[in-house]
Symmetry: C2
Subunit: 355 residues, 2 copies
């Protein structure tokens, strides 16, 4: 059969509201709206990665209502539909809405909007490799080769080879302890779960119906009650709020059969901390990663960014220094996840303008 | 004789334009205009130290023309006269102008406006102790007891006792090398020269005539050509510019005879660096000295000040972090004098708005 292949429909998840990159990321400007790894926002970079019209249809973007205008300003005419979650319910219900907006036979490429991929050609090759399996009803995941025993990520264990560079997925493990993470990296049978999935809409919906029937019902009712406003899709709020809040890993991946893994070394990062951004960033000779108005004198190994005041760092090492017009963070690079302690303290003080 | 003693005339020197406390101190807002050690500016604190009308007349303030309005706004009616230097010529010509504005028999108390004194009662006691010697024609200096081998200060060597707690001054040494400073502190015959002097106007003028005749002539001509504008005194510019620029230490103290030293432990600091301000400041239990909108989490030994953005410091030690609306400085406390490298770099880049 030489039927013309249908285009893959990208599903871009833009619902995140992380605080791990405070003070740059804020409630009103989440991580995907920041120009963290280049000259465009991570959302835009995600959309550009799937912009080839020979391979991809216009993306379905799923986001919170508060982000609608910012996303349209950023992506404009490139958006196929903008599905606005009436309330945050984690990734599984968000993907369910997109699957319901597509045809059952469409192949969806689910993409977090706030991850970074250095090797875009490798990414396209991995998608092409996984595609026949997705067409055949597999849930295709992409295994990012781990370069350290990271405990903040999920891992996928590879089983038997299904084809050249494609394996059966045996098990998902969310955020292992340090000892397990060490074993995984040493054993070379585990990859990081980058949260990118390729699968048919119908396969996802069937898996939800089987493993998360309440969610399947809620998402279905929400989309049946949808209101459209040009490219914006407003699912019914009451129906959607009835859905349990679950990640796609928990709701589907850990329970589904016919999981395939395409291992890929894409220079992937979830940019989930200032340290992760430092790792992904270009550095100068002294190992400083810089952005904005800054002056590093005899300093090394620092991440220095400013969106406001000039930052002058003199004689310091391995610090994260991030400045905006209203807040400045200084923390050792190795402790950069502790930024959440500052965010919590500001929350406790009711300083919402800074959050 | 029970003649009524004339009041001491304070001479407050406010001509400094240091950059050592950048980014707080700026060309337009020198150190004495900052609220560094309390709720008032250092200039105001200096004036308040000599505000007792039973002992002191209204002060003569000597400053650059650019500072006139700021000084009047700060000190208001408390100013006796505001002598505006047509150009900066260091401390000796500035003090000469004040001496010429007084009567030869007046006792002047010369005070830098940007130094900090913790023990104000001790300061008054030291002035009272030195006063009879000043009345008798001595140049009275105040020796600050050194608590470290500081190479950034001048030292005075004490000689024979002239009275209880008053000594002959043998020698001035400006900024010794480290070995000499160590010897001075160990030998206990040297004190820091705090730049505070008590002396008759006529004694100063005679010393200038003897040791710095060009300066004496220039200052005299400048005051003869003065223009008055309410409490402002404008010495003649062309005449004053003809004066050599010299410090009072170099022009007079190192050459004069009849120098007396009143040793005093006043908790004195010239606040000449962020480290010096840290030493002088109140600290919390973790040894952090803080000012403005800041949040210190698990941090110790830091000086953290903000006049603008919130500063969040997490897990850092012994850092100076200073933020204003347009600039942020991060430097180890022990290297805080290196701020001048940032200032020089900004000068080289022509970024005058930040200086």
């Amino acid at each position: 059969m030489a039927a013309i292949q249908r285009k893959i429909i990208p599903v871009i998840l833009s619902g995140g509201t992380g605080t791990r990159l405070w003070p740059l990321s804020r409630a009103r400007r989440p991580k995907q709206m920041l120009e963290l790894t280049g000259d465009e926002t991570m959302l835009k970079a995600t959309a550009m990665r799937v912009a080839d019209p020979r391979m991809y249809a216009a993306p379905l973007v799923v986001a919170g209502t508060a982000q609608a205008e910012a996303i349209e300003a950023e992506l404009g005419e490139a958006i196929g539909a903008l599905i606005l979650e009436p309330a945050p319910r984690n990734t599984a219900p968000a993907i369910a809405l997109a699957a319901l907006a597509a045809d059952r036979g469409d192949v969806l490429l689910v993409l977090p909007s706030d991850h970074w991929i250095r090797d875009v050609a490798g990414f396209q090759a991995a998608v092409a490799k996984g595609r026949p399996f997705a067409e055949d009803g597999w849930i295709v995941t992409f295994g990012m080769k781990p370069d350290r025993a990271e405990t903040g990520y999920g891992y996928i264990e590879r089983g038997e080879a299904l084809a050249d560079g494609v394996y059966a997925g045996v098990r998902f493990v969310e955020k292992p302890d340090a000892a397990a993470a060490e074993r995984y990296v040493a054993g070379r049978r585990h990859d990081w779960n980058g949260g990118i999935f390729l699968l048919k809409a119908g396969v996802l919906l069937d898996a939800l119906a089987a493993h998360a029937p309440d969610m399947f019902e809620a998402a279905g009712a929400a989309m049946r009650g949808q209101r459209r406003e040009r490219r914006r899709v407003h699912p019914d709020g009451a129906a959607f709020r009835a859905s349990p809040a679950q990640s796609i890993d928990y709701a589907v991946m850990e329970k589904a059969e016919r999981i395939a893994v395409v291992p890929a070394s894409l220079g992937w990062s979830d940019v989930g901390s200032w340290a992760a951004l430092y790792d992904a960033a270009e550095k100068d000779e002294a190992g400083n990663a810089a952005g904005g108005d800054m002056l590093a004198i005899d300093s090394a190994g620092c991440l220095i960014r400013s969106e406001g005041p000039l930052v002058a760092a003199i004689g310091v090492e391995d610090l994260v220094i991030v400045a905006t017009a209203d807040a400045v963070l200084v923390v050792p690079r190795g402790d950069s996840q502790r930024v959440k302690e500052a965010v919590e303290a500001l929350k406790a003080q009711g300083r919402d303008a800074l959050l």
